[in-house]
Symmetry: D2
Subunit: 310 residues, 4 copies
Amino acid sequence: MKQPLCGIVPPLVTPLRDNETLDVKSLERLINHLIDGGVHGLFILGTTGEEQSLSYSMRQQMIRETCRINAGRLPVLVCITDTSLVESIRLADVAAECGADALVSAPPYYFATGQPELAQFYEELVPQLPLPVFLYNMPSHVKVSFAPSTVARLAKMPQVVGLKDSSANAVYFQSVMYAVREMGRDDFSMLCGPEEITGECVLMGAQGGVNGGANMFPELYVAMYDAAVKGDIARMRHLQHYIMQISSSIYSIGQHGSSYLKGLKCACSLLGVIDDDFVASPFYKFNQPERDKVQKALDALPIKNGKLEI
Amino acid sequence: MKQPLCGIVPPLVTPLRDNETLDVKSLERLINHLIDGGVHGLFILGTTGEEQSLSYSMRQQMIRETCRINAGRLPVLVCITDTSLVESIRLADVAAECGADALVSAPPYYFATGQPELAQFYEELVPQLPLPVFLYNMPSHVKVSFAPSTVARLAKMPQVVGLKDSSANAVYFQSVMYAVREMGRDDFSMLCGPEEITGECVLMGAQGGVNGGANMFPELYVAMYDAAVKGDIARMRHLQHYIMQISSSIYSIGQHGSSYLKGLKCACSLLGVIDDDFVASPFYKFNQPERDKVQKALDALPIKNGKLEI
Amino acid sequence: MKQPLCGIVPPLVTPLRDNETLDVKSLERLINHLIDGGVHGLFILGTTGEEQSLSYSMRQQMIRETCRINAGRLPVLVCITDTSLVESIRLADVAAECGADALVSAPPYYFATGQPELAQFYEELVPQLPLPVFLYNMPSHVKVSFAPSTVARLAKMPQVVGLKDSSANAVYFQSVMYAVREMGRDDFSMLCGPEEITGECVLMGAQGGVNGGANMFPELYVAMYDAAVKGDIARMRHLQHYIMQISSSIYSIGQHGSSYLKGLKCACSLLGVIDDDFVASPFYKFNQPERDKVQKALDALPIKNGKLEI
Amino acid sequence: MKQPLCGIVPPLVTPLRDNETLDVKSLERLINHLIDGGVHGLFILGTTGEEQSLSYSMRQQMIRETCRINAGRLPVLVCITDTSLVESIRLADVAAECGADALVSAPPYYFATGQPELAQFYEELVPQLPLPVFLYNMPSHVKVSFAPSTVARLAKMPQVVGLKDSSANAVYFQSVMYAVREMGRDDFSMLCGPEEITGECVLMGAQGGVNGGANMFPELYVAMYDAAVKGDIARMRHLQHYIMQISSSIYSIGQHGSSYLKGLKCACSLLGVIDDDFVASPFYKFNQPERDKVQKALDALPIKNGKLEI
């Protein structure tokens, strides 16, 4: 994997038949769809990938199958977030054995840690891991944020090669980026989670985005990345309109925090990227009325042959 | 297990040598110490037991060893809280095979669920479990509370036999107790987590407490329970003083949320109830200065032959 | 005012005709209703009294009228919570001039302060106030809690004579009570906000309750206080049933945090204690469907001649 | 005032001698400093202006003096955020009388409102106001956010002419901007609070920034605005470095949420823009050790004759 990692690295949805059955055929279709769409890496078992809802054997299967299907075409990043250090390492070892390129880790998410405890935890974990590591900032789900000073402390370990930030807090993103740049870590990759702001982050110096919408329309987010790299602002604003249209329609059906995940999987299924949009417990896929709304949201987009005409 | 379950059911600390080694000898000493102290049940793998920090194989070992050592003397409750429904069921099956009496489950704690999703999750999970189930309310760690109306909805399943509330919100506790009583569920056990308020909760009609301090001084919390059952208020206030002294000294060293766990394990170790006070990642046991403070806090208590003179 | 202040000190609703008109006749009826019901003090301009929603001239009018109507029959406590120290002092001076007995102050609630800043603020404010002061813990509204150690620090000022805690966190309540008792402040009054737990708090040593429900049924909360003081547990449980019935019906209509206030004012109006149940902006009184539900909740209570038969 | 309002509209610090004395001479110097620095408007009594900590008479004085000193050179925006609708209107009337151009209002901040209550509140307030209104999103201080759908509902009133967002949540900012654009409100001004992200927001279509740092160095933030408008990305990145340097040094001294305010006022005082850096209660200005750190942070910047050489 070249460092810093640059571009659009979609967090893959995990195609499921039920809580215990991975839909490998859909996974194959999804991965090829992404690669055809021009993405720059594959990120599995993240929040969008429902890692925490999957059994450990399925997490391992997902790693194995992804690496097999990818067959070295793109860097594969595997999320190993866990509340147990031992299980984190176990998953990391599987990832290395299967040929993955890097690991991603959010803080343990049952107990909330103070910043010194958090730093100490990673200083213990990272050296036991067989691959480069991206930190994963996800305060809404894990209750704690990596303070910029904690990122700087952890970035002293060369094995820590980037941060994926899903906080949506753009001031935080700028602060971490500034702190890491001040250290001279030019190989450190700042990746933006929310697709709604990836364009502007890349323009200000970030390396790329981990955008869930790319499961549906990889070409859209890749185009935004390219426009931002080129500084083509008119093009960025044009693309941003579609990105916001998707965000405000497909991800905003229903009233719970799970709207994003349900909407995304449902749309992938309607687009034929995956078969079933089964969502693992504790969530449930949309019923028909919500499914109809997603279809309507898709119909409002200029899709031709499964691709956005942008 | 008689229903409703009544009395003091301590959440056992998990004696560890390191992240991967259970200290079975200390566990044996701890269990006998608790039974000698008069407690009414054993609750393992809860928050105090660091379930989420332990590997799955150690969780299983902890179940097996506890059931073996207990040898049917007391009801054994096993916490199966997990983000994955499949892993929860797997752990429940181990508990049943080993002869445990009941299960305890807090909501999935990575994704935050809305109340309808939460209810639906338990309506899917509970029928797949081989033993009676206590709901476990722990909003500070899992980000979501069982609304009183959700408890009432779930209490329609006879297999749901109680609620352990660790919220410290006494209005919430009263609200759930009222809702369940209104349903006529006299076999439903309301257990109070925080030892600082177990006395008053029992006095108002709760069945008992899941009090971490009982790992150190089981006789104190059993005495409080007995006094509350008898309505001996003078005795309650006398005992409450010691309970608050412990809470405000032993659990309040250090500045992070982990103070309770570190202080409790350290005190157990100093009292000889367990050997090492190793705390699993992402936490770390106290260093010597904090350990000295715990010792000083213990010295201020009227301990004779390892027991509180109360 | 005798110290410590003991008993039920209801937080008076503020009877309004509109945002700018105090309904003085209803206020007179309310105060007489409360005194007839046996309460031990009057607490005005608290959260239940909508202080923050009222203009300053109306706050002053409310102080003046309450002191005039009360005519020395009961201690009058005036809430002076404000974001501006200068305005707080101004209101306190009015209270003193009108003959009020004590002040109540929650932390400034726009900027959130750290604990040292909070302590320093009160060390500056209190000496400038003309009357004894109760601290008012209300974290859900003011975003910051008085840490037990901060209460202890402030309780070194003899002018600080009590704490009203509306957190519903009973562990917090016990911790503060323990901290203050350890200082030997036997004249310090611990008052419990939520009526659902006032009984148990008094039983464990608290001095009383600031219970909103007393606006409707002062006799119920006074009876609970008396039972708790006597240690009559059977009576407490009997009364607690009604208290919870009120809480779970009248205060639980609608889905926003304002349900308590709207339900309480609506019930007071239906019971004839006040005329209109106008709620000051940013809230609005219940519409007819919700009003019908409150009436139904009242009908389910054993009311005779406007009093609960308990 | 031209609509939409565009550019840098600094939130003025309020120069104080003590809690009750406005430093009018410093205010005059500050306003001239800002106008010389090229800013596009003046925003007074915001969070940076400590509105909530000031007495009402001082708020009125601040409005009067600002309008007098400004003498029509720039649009003046006056924040009227209050918990009392009546007091909000009163302040708005003063602003209109003094010749201010627009009002700014954050939600009432003692009671937290639900979205329908919030919308209803503004639908009641706005028609009673004598000037155009900017909504002010400040969830960390007022506990509630204007949902994008609520902004869209309120933007149906032509008198609502913009939104200032201080949430730092860039996804939120994009969502509101998209919702308002979809309505065809081209005269609606989207202003970004945090200076760390104003550049990227303007580039994506926002109208400007309400940047506190402009009190010190107006020319820096104006230059960033100009660069963003021109799409000069190299220049933006160059300027962003200084903006982040200021943010990570001057605003990050001390451990409480007040660091920003204390650091900013201290720096203004050291730069001679204002005399004293007195901070109104409940806060306190920096002591000498912190003041030295601010001086050091200033020394690290390329300042010449009180201006940044950029």
